[in-house]
Amino acid sequence: MITRLSGGRIFDPANGVNGDIRDLYVEDGRIIAAPASGTADQTYELRGRAVMAGGIDIHSHVAGGKVNLARLLMADDHRDVRALHGSLTRSGSGVATPSSFVTGYRYAGMGYTAAFEPAMVPSNARSTHLEMADLPIVDKGTYVMLGNDEFLLDLLAHGADQERINDYVAWMMRATAALGVKTVNPGGISAFKFNERKLDIDGAIPHHRVAPRRVIQALTRALSELGVPHPLHVHCNNLGIPGNIDTTLGTIAAAEGFPIHLTHVQFHSYGTEGDRHFSSAAARLAEAVNGNPHVTIDVGQIMFGQTVTASGDTMAQYRNRTFASPDKWIVMDIECDGGCGLVPFRYRDKNFVNALQWTIGLELFLLIKDPWRVFLTTDHPNGAPFTAYPTLIRLLMDRDFRNACLKEIHPAAQTVTTLGSIAREYTLDEIAIMTRAAPARILGLADRGHLGIGAAADIAVYAEDADRAKMFTAPEHLFKDGVEVARRGEVVAASLGRTHVVQPEYDRAIEKPLKTFFDDHMSLRFENFPLSEPELADTGIGLAVHPCKPRSRA
């Protein structure tokens, strides 16, 4: 069956199309060339509508043990907001940590067709993937957390060859069915287990006596040499600490020219100026990003209101427990390979620090010039639930709205920020880049994030509205793999997306020391650790395997 999407304004930056009025044709889940006959079995008249590829969220905590612990802490959130089941949909609850089905429906209702869980602890992989079988409609994938795993730290401590590190990274990515690798406070989660409370990029990780800088070097290089499309996804050391901009800039340097992605940089762009010794360093980070084409970032914007922070960074979360609102928190040490910490937060516009965090995030969006290298995230749920995206898009596209919001925040924050003087307004083309085309490109999803011939027909159709928040809240139509799955925010077809993975090659010699490590020290045996493809298939999850193409440093 051929479906024609007729007369819409197409925003397809990957193919250089910026608001042109064109017809799209879809058959068997793919975008096809206009059929010679010019006819279609079904036509959607889309005059006056903006048409984009489905949104792709590069960093959103949607599944895994830590999200479930966050759900447990956020009992009030789940009591206050409950979603009824429908004839096609499952019921659920919650806003900051919605239950799995509701998460998928809300993403689809907002025009998104993929969301990536960025912090999968290796030992939690099996459980995370099982949970993602209940995350409907959207495609998904995970970044496995490395850099606090004792096996890797031991390799680095003993001066292992890069090839051996590459083999380990590749083995781990396959074993955990990952699309990317993230490092969280490299070395810091391990250090916290040895009772260290702070770790700088050139500090020594206890026991192993290697520096976080070395972890970043080894992992950025490994991913490049293995050809994993997504560069190392880095949550820097010293999250949330005034003055941490030096650590963040040091992290860029540590990559030594290899591609690197810095995540939720809003939390890592703090200076120490002013009476309160807390200031924006957004301009310094923006300058570094603008000058280093191998660097990409996502922002982790905060929005005011109640949420919960969920992170692998136990060191930071333990430190931040004093800000817990309501006053309860969880910290867990995990299996010699990671950890997790949950701290509920209520960001207040009249609180100086929170207000400045809000301006820092927006400054980063507006001062980083290349929309291909900055991604729209709230680090869901850490800065705000992902359902805040439409308002965030309006803040970026509408200077008057932004300046009106600025007038509401803590007065001292208003006086120190440069935000009010920044004239830039994002265009629809730039929004399509940062929420669709660029995430697909940086993740190596060749057939997603664009509307060219052969692309997957993940398509969002928005009614144009000068109020961009309203426009992006609920597209008129959302197609997932060619099937209309949501209409004006309501789910109209149930489906289960794919899980995107890469399967880099490795020398199986690495399995020998790994077997010894697991069987002698870990609590799960080596042969039971990896997820198998039949096991994943049993859960109903289909894998989309993306090719690896080795690359060199910039």
Binding site: A63, G65, V67, N68, L69, R71, L72, L73, A75, H78, R79, R82, A83, L84, H85, G86, S87, R90, S91, G92, S93, P98, S99, S100, F101, V121, S123, N124, R126, S127, L130, E131, A133, D134, E150, F192, K193, F194, N195, H207, Y318, K328, W329, I330, V331, M332, D333, I334, E335, C336, D520, H521, M522, S523, L524, R525, E527, N528, E535, D538
Partner: protein, 413 residues
């Protein structure tokens, strides 16, 4: 997961989920665990599905079960000793037919969950305790009774990464129920009724306050003081308990006090909690409820959306009060028959379960880890353990039965 590896199969019979068992010609080598040996050796009593006590096909039993669930105003789904896929299928059923779903006799787990909901947690997985803990405090009656290889795996393990010598083990609990087979550096004898007060005293000492004063003459305060010092001096302490052994009615208070102790200790050093649980995959069932609905237990879908209330939706209370009008009982890892109920009962049970009375529908299913493959979550909640079919039988799984029932229940949109 249908292939049986020669070694390294996992055990579903307690929350430790040991995965170093092997299958040989004479059965499963359970590495000396009596609980696992009994579980794997369980005799099969019946593979037959029944309707009203008479033999029936699976389809006939499913139709009767579906009819009961369709006709019920408020069904109760309980038992819930099932694998992860089974739990996923059963929560889907509850959502479809507006049922209450809650694990049977899960008071200790609910206490622990309640403390986490209200106050939080400070915990670690098995691998951390086994590789780091230099001081281990066992609280309450011996948790090793229900978790037989606990100490072998986490305390006296031979090749830890970061521990130079076996940890110093202290027991704070009834002197008649010490951790069995474990050398102790100290025993702080506290009978069950005084456990909460002893924990309060320890907490007070750690916070630099006076403990007990004249109100607690029977508490061994000097020994509790020594224990406080030992925990403060530990590099990485671990507190292990099984809330099921805590005094009735005080489980949540004891757990909350342990959390307070952990919080005090972590200001200067490291100390983690390891609450045991997870028998019958109870942790896995809780996780499925959390991700599918937003709460870990005591859920009601009657209003078309999940609602959680630890008192109203407790399965034992609902069945006793007559508020539910149908019972769907599902139990595989534990060979437990459904409670005799006055409401129409559907029993989905493993072959080794003896039924006292003939339920309206009886569906015999396999047990994950024995009859078919599957996955369960360990007591430490993070690690999902794959189960192989140690003795494949061809019986349907809970998940497959739930999948047969689901389309037969009218969607109550």
């Amino acid at each position: 997961m249908s292939e049986v590896p020669a070694r390294g199969i996992a055990c579903p019979f307690c929350g430790l989920a040991c995965d170093d068992l092997s299958v040989g010609p004479i059965g499963v080598d359970t590495r000396g665990c009596g609980k696992a040996a009994a579980g794997f050796a369980a005799q099969s009593l019946s593979h037959e599905h029944r309707v009203g006590g008479e033999r029936a096909t699976l389809e006939q039993a499913i139709e009767v079960a579906a009819g009961i669930l369709r006709g019920a105003r408020l069904p109760l789904i309980t038992g819930l000793s099932v694998d992860l896929a089974g739990a996923q299928g059963l929560v889907a059923l509850a959502d479809r037919c507006g049922a209450v779903i809650d694990r049977w006799q899960a008071a200790a787990q609910a206490d622990t969950q309640g403390v986490v909901q209200r106050a939080g947690a400070l915990t670690a997985t098995f691998g951390e305790v086994a590789n780091r803990a230099d001081v281990v405090l066992i609280v309450g009656a011996d948790p090793g009774r229900d978790y037989p290889r606990l100490y072998e795996r986490l305390v006296t393990n031979k090749t830890p990464l970061y521990r130079e010598r076996p940890p110093s083990v202290v027991h704070l609990g009834p002197s008649a129920a010490p951790p069995s087979g474990l050398p102790l550096v100290a025993q702080v004898p506290v009978e069950a009724p005084r456990l909460l007060d002893a924990l309060r005293a320890l907490s007070a000492l750690l916070d630099g306050r006076r403990a007990g004063g004249g109100t607690a003459p029977d508490l061994p305060l000097a020994q509790i003081g020594d224990l406080a010092g030992r925990l403060n001096d530990a590099r990485y302490g671990a507190i292990i308990w099984d809330a099921a052994t805590f005094p009735a009615g005080e489980g949540d208070l004891c757990t909350a006090m342990v959390l307070r102790i952990l919080r005090s200790l972590n200001r200067k050093t490291r100390c983690v909690g390891l609450p045991l649980g997870g028998n019958g995959n109870s942790q896995g069932v809780a996780q499925v409820m959390l991700w599918q609905a937003g709460w870990p237990s005591r859920l009601c879908f009657a209003g078309g959306a999940p609602e959680h209330d630890p008192w109203r939706f407790r399965s034992e209370r609902l069945l006793a009060s007559g508020e539910v009008d149908a019972l769907l009982w599902v139990s595989t890892f534990a060979a437990v028959a459904p409670p005799v109920a006055t409401v129409p009962t559907i029993a989905i049970v493993a072959p080794n379960t003896a039924l006292r009375a003939a339920p309206a529908a009886e569906i015999r299913v396999g047990m994950a880890g024995l009859d078919h493959g599957g996955t369960i979550l360990r007591a430490d909640t993070v690690i999902a353990v794959p189960l192989a079919a140690a003795r494949p039988s061809g019986l349907p799984s809970v998940a497959s039965v739930a999948a047969l029932l689901l389309p037969r229940l009218q969607a109550a949109a």
